[in-house]
């Protein structure tokens, strides 16, 4: 057995499921834990983990899919850039099908716009080098995991003296929204499975205010099935012992202080700002804007574009799904009007969206 296989080992997983059942046995109300990160959501569906949990534990999905929480107006701006003949829009693949008010990047590409899928922001810089006659706009969407790589791309462009590389930024930071959701009595969150990759950058210490000031148990948890069930077991144990602390299950990668180098890079290139989360609204200190010293690379300032008032699709309940208030199957559009081929909301598009996961992996896991 190789190292990573151990985290998908059937006996280990069954043992953890039994431990969770024993810990929560006899509870008169189920414990509700939110997995914040879209990769957790995907893994839970992909391995059918809900089918292994006792009825006393409920997992709900949070706002941790970066594409899903990006407002419609952002997509409209990306579409407007794609329509300009001198611009190449470079993006991670997930943004392609996200519907804006009246079009998507995929539709614009079919009409002839230059929209390129890249796997790294540095590939977008390479595009700018290769096409000096064009302006390359990279769609910077993501959390603290993606943001340092985008910061690095801006620094690389600055170092090379590029004048045709721009970032349309919508980077978000996760801890403050978690605090806002945990204060919502309707959700009744009993604990958080904190994101794995994000925590490698910000460190376990970033959640201390949640556990210590707001009384919410937090466990930084990895993505493999055994990681997730162990994280759930640790949260259940905290609840049963009436404790709230930050614990790190994902010790093989996450430290208390995080990645100092990445944090320094973020502080150099970005400044914290209030930002709009789709379905949740504006949250103070939850976004990263490009700092003034790099304004020449900020698409919003260097290449301003006007779009009309964004329109959300009628009946779309992505907002409630992102807050964990309803599950994908509770949305009247799910699977009928809204499918991955013809998505109404971003949650059905992204490979980390709850609706896409529920559609792909099916109601057996709901």
């Amino acid at each position: 057995m190789n190292y990573s296989d151990a985290f998908r080992n059937r006996e280990i997983v069954r043992g953890l499921a039994e431990r969770i059942a024993a810990l929560t046995c006899g509870l008169d109300r189920p414990l509700t834990f939110m997995e914040v990160c879209g990769t957790h959501t995907m893994s839970i569906y992909q391995y059918g983990l809900r089918s292994l949990l006792p009825p006393q534990v409920r997992l709900i999905s949070g706002p941790g899919c970066p594409v899903c929480v990006t407002p419609v107006g952002y997509v409209d701006k990306a579409v407007a850039y794609a329509r300009r003949p001198q611009i190449i829009v470079a993006t991670f693949g997930d943004m392609l099908r996200v519907p804006g008010s009246s079009s998507s990047l995929m539709q614009e590409r079919a009409r002839g716009a230059e929209v390129r899928i890249v796997y790294s922001s540095l590939d977008a810089v390479a595009l700018a080098v290769k096409h000096p006659e064009k302006q390359v706009v990279f769609l910077g969407v993501g959390f603290e995991t993606t943001a340092p790589t985008v910061a690095a791309s801006i620094q690389a462009a600055a170092k090379q003296g590029l004048r045709n590389y721009f970032v349309l930024g919508a980077h978000k930071t996760i801890p403050v929204p978690m605090q806002i959701l945990s204060a919502d009595p309707e959700l009744g969150i009993d604990g958080y499975l904190c994101p794995a990759h994000v925590s490698t950058v910000i460190g376990g210490g970033a959640y201390r205010f949640l556990a210590e000031q707001h009384g919410v148990p937090c466990v930084v948890t990895g993505f493999e099935p055994a990681d997730i069930l162990q994280g759930v077991a640790m949260l259940a144990a905290q609840r049963m012992e009436n404790r709230s602390a930050v614990e790190i299950q994902y010790r093989r990668f996450v430290t208390w202080e995080g990645n100092r180098q990445a944090q320094a890079l973020l502080a150099e290139v970005f400044v914290p700002v209030d930002t709009a989360w789709r379905g949740i609204g504006v949250i103070p200190h939850s976004g990263l804007a490009i700092a003034d010293r790099y304004a020449a690379f900020d698409a919003a300032r260097a290449l301003p574009v006007a779009v009309e008032q964004p329109r959300e699709a009628a009946g779309c309940r992505c907002g409630d799904i992102l807050k964990g208030k309803i599950g994908p199957g509770d949305c009247p559009l799910f699977g009928t009007t809204c499918t991955p081929e013809n998505p109404v909301g971003a949650c059905m598009v992204s490979s980390e969206g709850s609706c896409a996961a529920a559609y792909k992996y099916g109601p057996t896991s709901l």
Binding site: G48, S51, F92, V141, T146, S351, Y359, T364
Partner: protein, 336 residues
């Protein structure tokens, strides 16, 4: 949203492709419903049955580890014939070349086509060549059509899966799609992943020695094993259960899939077949498969568990259960 546009997803082999076929192409051109569709059409002729199929190849890059567009075009059409149990008789080749394409590369592609045809034992009988101005095509596109002869009495169809049948595959999944993807994206891997492109007609001929035990044969190309099994489940009106723990998967393919957020069940294969066979005969068919050079890593990966439903589900590595659906849109990579 504008529904007039043809999107890349319409060529993915998944749900959008099915919609385009069902809503526009088939009703306009023939009127035969999709459930009757197999990899090749069967034509009654002079007391015998001919299989007839066509396919176009637009792979990018044209050369990839394990093959090129030429042998791919021959093997793909031979395989479409083989999946209805036919032995190939002859193949046509249509070349569409972009102005400025390299004569040396064309020669290399043609040589590969000839070699693949010889290996499959089929003759390239007719062809056509067109050249379009630079920028109006991407280097080279190839169309191949093929005819083959179906042995008398043979009934192989996507509609023949029955409760109790086992699902077999002749080797590892996702090799072709990942080999092409890795080359296209310039991923530098420690272990090269080679396409599995191969003609399956000799393996099929071997399998057909088992007679009536072979119910369905299908090659899981675009859309991968998941989409192909879902098609079979719908066509046969049965439910199929897969066992993730026994899915044959090369470690580097697993690694690239994890890296790019791809599910190997949806990645294209070009030298694999899914055989749905009588449960009683499954072990024997498996051994026969494993004796063939293209079946050394064959395994039983699931079974037909219920009548009706048209569902595919999978017991996951860790013992959970989940549904397996058709490919939606294009396969998209993860974002964070």
């Amino acid at each position: 949203m504008d529904s007039d546009l043809i999107l890349l997803g319409h060529g993915s082999g998944g749900k959008l492709s099915h919609q385009l076929l069902e809503q526009l192409i088939i009703p306009t051109l023939s009127g035969v419903p999709l459930v009757g569709q197999n990899d090749a059409a069967l034509l009654d002729h002079d007391g015998g049955r001919l299989a007839f199929t066509t396919d176009s190849y637009v792979v990018d890059p044209v050369f990839f580890p394990g093959g090129n567009i030429g042998d791919l075009a021959i093997n793909g059409t031979v395989n479409d014939l083989a999946m209805v149990g036919a032995q190939p008789l002859a193949i046509s080749v249509g070349l569409i070349l972009e102005e400025g394409f390299s004569r040396r590369e064309l020669s290399e592609i043609l040589t590969a086509m000839r070699r693949a045809a010889d290996l499959a034992g089929v003759s390239i009988a007719t062809g056509d060549t067109k050249v379009v101005p630079r920028g109006k095509a991407d280097r080279i596109f190839i169309n191949t059509s093929g005819i083959g002869l179906v042995p008398p009495g043979l009934q192989i169809s996507g509609a023949n899966a029955q409760v109790g049948d086992k699902v077999l595959i002749n080797g590892t999944i996702g090799d072709h799609g990942i080999a092409v993807m890795a080359r296209r994206e310039g991923l530098e891997l420690e272990t090269a992943i080679c396409s599995d492109s191969a003609a399956l007609n000799h393996l099929v001929k071997d399998l057909l020695e088992e007679g009536d035990a072979i119910h369905v044969l299908r090659d899981p190309t675009r859309g991968g094993v998941a989409t192909t099994l879902k098609e079979i489940a719908l066509q046969s009106e049965v439910s199929i259960t897969l066992d993730e723990a026994v899915l044959p998967l090369k470690a580097p393919v697993r690694g690239v899939c994890a890296l790019l957020g791809l599910d190997p069940l949806y990645v294209a294969n070009e030298g694999k077949l899914l055989a749905i066979v009588d449960g009683q005969a499954a072990e024997r068919v498996l051994q026969r498969m494993q004796r063939h050079p293209l079946g050394a890593e064959a395994s039983i990966i699931g079974e037909v568990t219920a009548a009706g439903g048209g569902r595919v589900q999978m017991e996951t590595l860790v013992g959970g259960m989940r549904a397996v659906e058709m490919l939606s849109g294009e396969q998209l990579p993860r974002i964070c």
